[in-house]
């Protein structure tokens, strides 16, 4: 990886498994939100998790970095760690898991007391102990890429939602993770701002970043995803190529979901 490229996709061998989650289970009280979910993500692959609200897709995503601790199942990265949620999970294991990925949140979750640039370099400098000058240089290149270099010294409240989310994406990229996790990255945005964020994600997909995206944007999922996983009621109902799952669903539940999105009323 050359040091002039701020966010190189890791050397990819397509088809090589990066992450496999098996048997993820989770209940909130008597409400079983995940019933034994399996998910495999290969390097360079984009997986879209779709489904009605309450289907468990966000819980699956948050289990991949331990923001949600499942009651059972394992999450294993190629090259480690492999975390078994069946027993007690230590903070050390969770942090090892988090070191492999970075996340983009629905509500952006930028740090309001830091400028745009400070938000981006916080992880590289404070956690990864990279040299500040180098982290700043990388951050500026990434910000330039998403058209926000001019905003680097501003605070998040001075930015539009779309700009904040692009900073959120840059903050994730700056960590140089193996896997990017997106939790409904455009759901909090005004409709006219959705496009600018999706465009950035699409560019990343073309650069072979490995991504898992929870989204309601079906047209977007169809365009960028290599695999669509449709969930409902805590189970995976159907998975496969986006054209197949979203255009010719095999299952009645998938068909109804897609129909509802196409014809909301």
């Amino acid at each position: 990886m050359s040091s002039t490229d701020p966010a190189p996709a890791r050397t990819q061998t397509p088809g090589e498994v990066l992450l496999s989650a098996t048997g993820l289970q989770k209940s909130f009280g008597s409400n079983m939100v995940l019933r034994s979910i399996d998910l495999t993500v290969c390097r360079g692959e984009v997986v879209a998790l779709v489904g009605p609200s309450g289907s468990g897709k966000t819980t699956v995503l948050r289990s991949l970095n331990g923001l949600e601790v499942p009651d059972g199942g394992t999450v294993a990265f190629d090259g480690g760690p492999s975390v078994n949620f069946g027993g007690a999970v230590s903070g050390r294991e969770l942090s090892a898991l988090r070191d492999r990925s970075a996340m983009v949140f629905q509500q952006y979750n930028l740090f309001p007391h830091m400028t745009v640039l400070e938000n981006v370099i916080e992880g590289p400098v404070q956690v990864q102990k990279r040299r500040r000058a180098e982290a700043v240089q990388d951050a500026e290149k990434l910000l330039d890429r998403v058209g926000l270099l001019a905003k680097k010294d501003q605070y998040p409240f001075e930015l539009s939602g779309g700009q904040q989310q692009r900073v959120g994406i840059v903050r994730a990229l700056a960590l140089r993770p193996d896997l990017l996790l997106f939790d409904e990255p455009t759901s909090a945005l005004d409709p006219e701002l959705v496009g600018e964020v999706l465009k950035v994600i699409k560019d990343l997909a073309e650069e072979d970043w490995t991504m898992v995206i929870v989204t309601h944007e079906m047209a977007f999922a169809r365009e960028v995803a290599d695999e669509v996983v449709f969930m409902d009621g805590g189970v995976v109902v159907e998975r496969g190529h986006p054209d197949q799952v979203l255009r010719n669903p095999k299952h009645e539940r998938t068909r109804r979901f897609v129909q509802r999105l196409l014809h909301p009323f």
């Binding site: 969770l94 979750n109 309001p112 992880g123 605070y155 998040p156 903050r171």
Partner: protein
């Protein structure tokens, strides 16, 4: 009004404020705040024992008069063989008292920071401790400045109680001159005036600090 007495007593009383009241307030506040942070973290630790200890402590401090706490440290402890001089006694009593109040302020301020901020910290690889220090506390600080300023200003005035355990501070100076001159009204008003000036300056400082901490918030 005996202006001559007012003038001649002004400096001794002010000096009592500068060498007694102010250092006593600052030391007690800093120590109290440090203890308050520990107590606040114990309260939100989710560990029953730690949280219970902090809860009982806070309840005792807030449920008993400051004057009684001060007397227990200075007049009470000697009867079990612990003799502490006036100044340290005052600092101990005031710090322990401030901690009880400030702990609840800090706890509420920490809890007011949205959960997503903790999560964002974790996803960029931060431990709980680092997230607290780098992400949560700076945001909690902004929220806690107004209520902590209240505590601080109350403390400035409460230090007058230290005159009752023989600490030389603003009010004790005024009292001694009053007893000597029998001009109680004049000297108590003079003491009150100087306390008011101190607090007036502090309130201005609070305003400036709030403004600085508000720089990243929509106005």
């Amino acid at each position: 009004m005996d202006w001559e007495l007012f003038r001649s007593s002004f400096w001794p009383i002010l000096r009592g404020g500068l060498t007694g009241t102010i250092p006593l307030t600052l030391m007690s506040f800093v120590l109290g705040l440090a203890l308050a942070l520990v107590l606040a973290l114990m309260r939100i630790s989710g560990k029953r024992l730690l949280s219970g200890i902090a809860r009982v402590y806070i309840s005792l401090v807030r449920g008993t008069p400051l004057l009684v706490q001060l007397f227990i440290v200075f007049y009470g402890l000697p009867s079990i063989g612990v003799v502490i001089p006036p100044w340290p006694s005052a600092v101990i009593a005031f710090s322990l008292n401030v901690a009880g109040y400030a702990a609840e302020i800090l706890r509420a301020a920490i809890l007011s920071v949205p959960k997503g901020q903790w999560e964002a910290g974790h996803t960029i690889g931060m431990s709980r401790r680092r997230t607290l220090r780098r992400i949560i506390l700076p945001q909690a600080a902004r929220v806690s400045v107004p209520p902590l300023s209240n505590t601080f200003i109350s403390l400035v005035k409460d230090t007058s109680l230290a005159s009752l355990i023989l600490v030389t501070e603003l009010f004790r100076e005024a009292e001694q001159i009053a007893a000597f001159s029998q001009e109680f009204m004049l000297l108590y008003l003079e003491a009150a005036l100087i306390y008011w000036v101190f607090c007036f300056v502090l309130a201005a400082g609070q305003g400036a600090l709030e403004k600085r901490l508000d720089r990243y918030v929509i106005h």
